[in-house]
Amino acid sequence: MEKDKGNYRIAVLKVNGEEHSVAVKDGETLLDVLRDKLGLTGTKKGCNLGVCGACTVLVDGEPKNSCLLLASSCEGAEITTIEGIEQEGKLHPLQRAFIDQGAVQCGFCTPGAILSAVALIKCNPDPSEQEIKEALSGNLCRCTGYTRIIEAVKEWKKYIKTKETQSLPDDLSEYHSVGKSLPRVDAAAKVTGQAKFTADYYFKNMLYGKILHSPIPHGRIKKIDTRKAEALPGVRLVLTGKNVPEITYGVSPARYDEHVLAKERVRQVGDEVAAVIAVDEETAEKALGLINVEYEELPAVFNPMEALKKGAPQLHERYRNNINTHVNHHFGDIEKGFKEADYIREEEFVGSHVYQNPLEPHASIAYWENGGSNLVLYSSTQVPHYVHYMVARVLDIPLGKIRIIRPPVGGGFGGKAGTTPLDLITSIASKMTGRPVKMVYSREEMFLYGRGRHKQYMKFKIGVKKDGRITAVQSKIYLDGGAYTSFGIITAYYAGAMIPTLYHIPNYRYEGFRIMTNKPACGAMRGNGTPQPRFAFESLLNMIADDLEIDPIEIRLRNAMDPDTRTCNDLDVRSCEFKATLKEVAKKSGWTEKYGKLPPGKGIGIGCGGFVSGAGYAIYRGQVQRSSEKKPETFLKKSVFPHANAIVKISEDGEAAVLLIQAAEIGQGALTVLSQMCAEALGISLHKVRIRAEDSDISPLDLGAYSSRTTLMGGNAVVQASRDVLKKLLVAASKIWNCDHKELEARDDQVFHKKDKSKRIGWSEAARKYFNEHGPLVGTGWYKPPEGLGGDYKGAAVGTSPAYSFGSSVCECSVDLETGKVRIEKFTDYHDCGTPVNPQAVHGQVEGAVVMGTGETIMEEVMYDEKGKILNPNLHDYLLMTAKDSPEIFSGIVKSYEPEGPYGAKEVGEGATLPVLAAVAHAIANATGVWIKELPITPEKILKALKKKKSSSSS
């Protein structure tokens, strides 16, 4: 053995009732031993510092963080992992409760949360809600908003006797699968720890990589000496900018500005300077410390306003004055609009630079097949196809030579919507070493890679008539972009594009600047670009309503968008039940009895928002092809290739429908809703549908989970493919009765004559007969957004979509007026998502969005020191809401039907975030009498404002 022998010894660990003799080093954590040596990968590594709780195991019945326990100290103890709580092959009642109550989304936090709950109910079988929250407060969840997890624990006893999970009552009677709150198709795998996320894969002969990050915010690399690192036993390869491709990459084709490893310049603390590939992670990390880099430090700039000034340090030669994107949009006549106004108010707002923080860290594993000619890349990505396209670009090989595998993804929220250095370095290094290479980010590296929300400095001006009708809206926004473009161009356009979708705005002007600063690049976070301007707009509207003494809900109703409207910026709204969401949320929350009538310290507020149901255009132009072979493409107002594609293949015995589509399940429930639509269209039960979405070799292209596109676009492709199958089946079956296939129908696993129900045959029998005569029963389907979407101005593509969602949220809070501390007590939300394919999944998205959006409003922020170093790159100091912080949430769905959507469905995932920020800010203002216009609204800011108000009113 060539590497440091360390202090290995044999430890005997009793795990799930079985004794294991394992060679461990003294300092190895129980977490690493369970995962790396015992293969018990249901125990997850989320933060590795004892905060997230994803690594929770039971040690002698007590829940503990296995990342903070040394394996050697656990000898003699009974260790229970998620793999050990099934009894005689049957799921634990809590596991069933989690499945049935919809407590599982991405599934990454699920094993830890279940184990905490198992420990709780053992000593307290009837816990109160408070006790449940206390017990789960060490298990962070980024998807669910905790609501359904708490509900599952509360209801666990119901599941002691039931064998099967129950489906909830029918919601939309005309459908059989669609509209039903059926348990998620991937939930069982996630509650048992069977679901394998990217980092849970281990391949024989695998190497591990780590990245050396720049410690300085801006500089030139003068020299890199890697000799010592290369000489370290166990190191297989050291990569620097010199031995990776010259080609740049990124997200927006107009601004590919990143290199796999820095070529000669670093622009942020955390920039990738070198990578070490070694026999294990520890050796790779050690070798990083042996690389000697000489930098010539350059002046750096961290604030976008400073970056614009004359003489400011310049980040990229091509972005003059550090302006990466400039948007200048004017619709209608803004001057005329303000002239017509009876009342005008202008305010400045600042958003918070928040980070997605999915519980699962980014991970990639690459190896080459077929004698090194084909790349296989496992990636924890939201956008397998764009990773596919980008890896093909950087390696300059055809997409057909690459196979992308996307295992279950532990949350994304936009943080996994780009190709990562891990994807590229593993691909390059595995080619060079001839071995599988695995790389996983630490939590700190996730922050350094960034792609979180742009902090926006916003000035909004709204003009209204006396009755509150809007005559003009003007905004000027500076977006702090960080060091690279990533999604940023799109973000800068979105910051303006979505404002006119909610209200009738006759005259609108938006000017936006995305500015480069020496910090990690910002990207597309849930609601890409729109939540902060939406917060600003809604807050200003609330101020105006108060100024004019119009009820805030009334002023919205007077301006609310109507169905079948073309907005001033040429977006086509079809279905729109925005007004219904307003009316319902007012009724349900008791708005009129509360607004303006609560005692000091208690507040109620409203916010609204909505989002696209899929982007109208793909991120890159032209067809699916390696980029070096493409000629420059002009923009066409139509999709060149289908954005979603599906194949449905019926098993030869007719008992299963295998649905193939590359849609990305990242916790939002894509696999489930697509399977439900497949079952509905085929007329079979959901349990007969199996979806295969992970492997690009098996499933046809889908653009992935971004811009809330999966339900509408993926769904349309799935329905078409299913109907293709059904038609073939019915044509074949019609021969039995010598009738036309249109006279037949398939439902409830039966094929029958619509008029003569005695003519019937089992669905699977019909499929077997089809196979006998025609061979494989396969159908295909695809979806392209409608042609001609959007206007003819520069940037008109951003914001286009086949459909838009709408939602209204009411927040109720209490504020401790002595300390400024906010307690969010209750949320009431109504959403227009078209037909809810799975209402429980819709509610899950809303609840998660409420908690994430609230966190963004009151506590989350990435902070930097004066040298551009992140001060809180961990879950100790970057604050996510815990179960104890989460409010009571009511999520309602209004009746709506979107003609462009499958079964009338549209989006919910991102749209649900949009109303939240303003609702919280308004509730706080309502409780305190002071408006905080800079996020996050921390207790300190509130107290400062209260003191200022007091001293100015007393003086």
Partner: protein, 294 residues
Amino acid sequence: MALSEIRFHTPKNLAEALEVLGELKEARIVAGGTDLYVDIKQGLIEARDIISLHKIEELKGIEKKDKKIRIGAMVTAQDIISSSIISQNITALADAAQSVASYQIRSMATIGGNLSSAVPSADLPPVLITAEATVELRCTESSREVSLSEFFRGPRETVCKTEELLTFIFVPFPPPNTGISYQKFALREANALAVASVASRLTLKDGKIDRAAIVLGAVGPTPVEALKTSEFLSGKEPSYSLFKEASLMAKEEGKPISDIRGSVWYRKELIQILTVRALNLALFRAQGKSKRME
């Protein structure tokens, strides 16, 4: 040095632990590991040898001994919360333990570790200082008892010598008509360090405050004893206006710094508010009402 490269020592009893500690003067002692391993993983601390106390049963109990409560260094926060000796005699310590991080961490983190780590925002020290706790520091040859108010020397620094081990914490039973309380302000409801905290103690005699103690947490390099404020309260009749006045004094006794959790200004404001709240609760308890912290 990476955590995986450490040498791990697991003495089976106290005597053995002291012996190993005597031999390996550079060694770090680990109790629950919830601070130490985090620090090592983040590269804040270098350690080659680690002596773990997890097998030492002698350090795991809470018992009454000579008019004092003796708490072993390996007693966890969760043990404190569920101990009837603690909840009957010094509820505030259970309150403070309950406010530590999360359930998982509380089931690992120990009182010995919480004191020895000497993190300025630690939850247990303020209450223990107001309760006039002492700690026993032992080495192979000798042992000494140190008042907790003299134990802390700075952030992550105590009077405990490298060859010494913190073995027990002694808390005298509070005299009659005494109330102790703990008030913590943090930025979220769980898993959060104190931005500021205040522990207070009042002993009443004939309707007046016989003795008072106020200790401030997270507003100085060590827990800060607000001596002037405590003195000011002594001999006076408790009232809201008195507490308000005291809180203004306490505000000036804190020596906070600005960091990501709060500014100097805000921390001082918090001291003031928390002092009033802590004194109210302490008074309530001193008057024989046994309300747990809300």
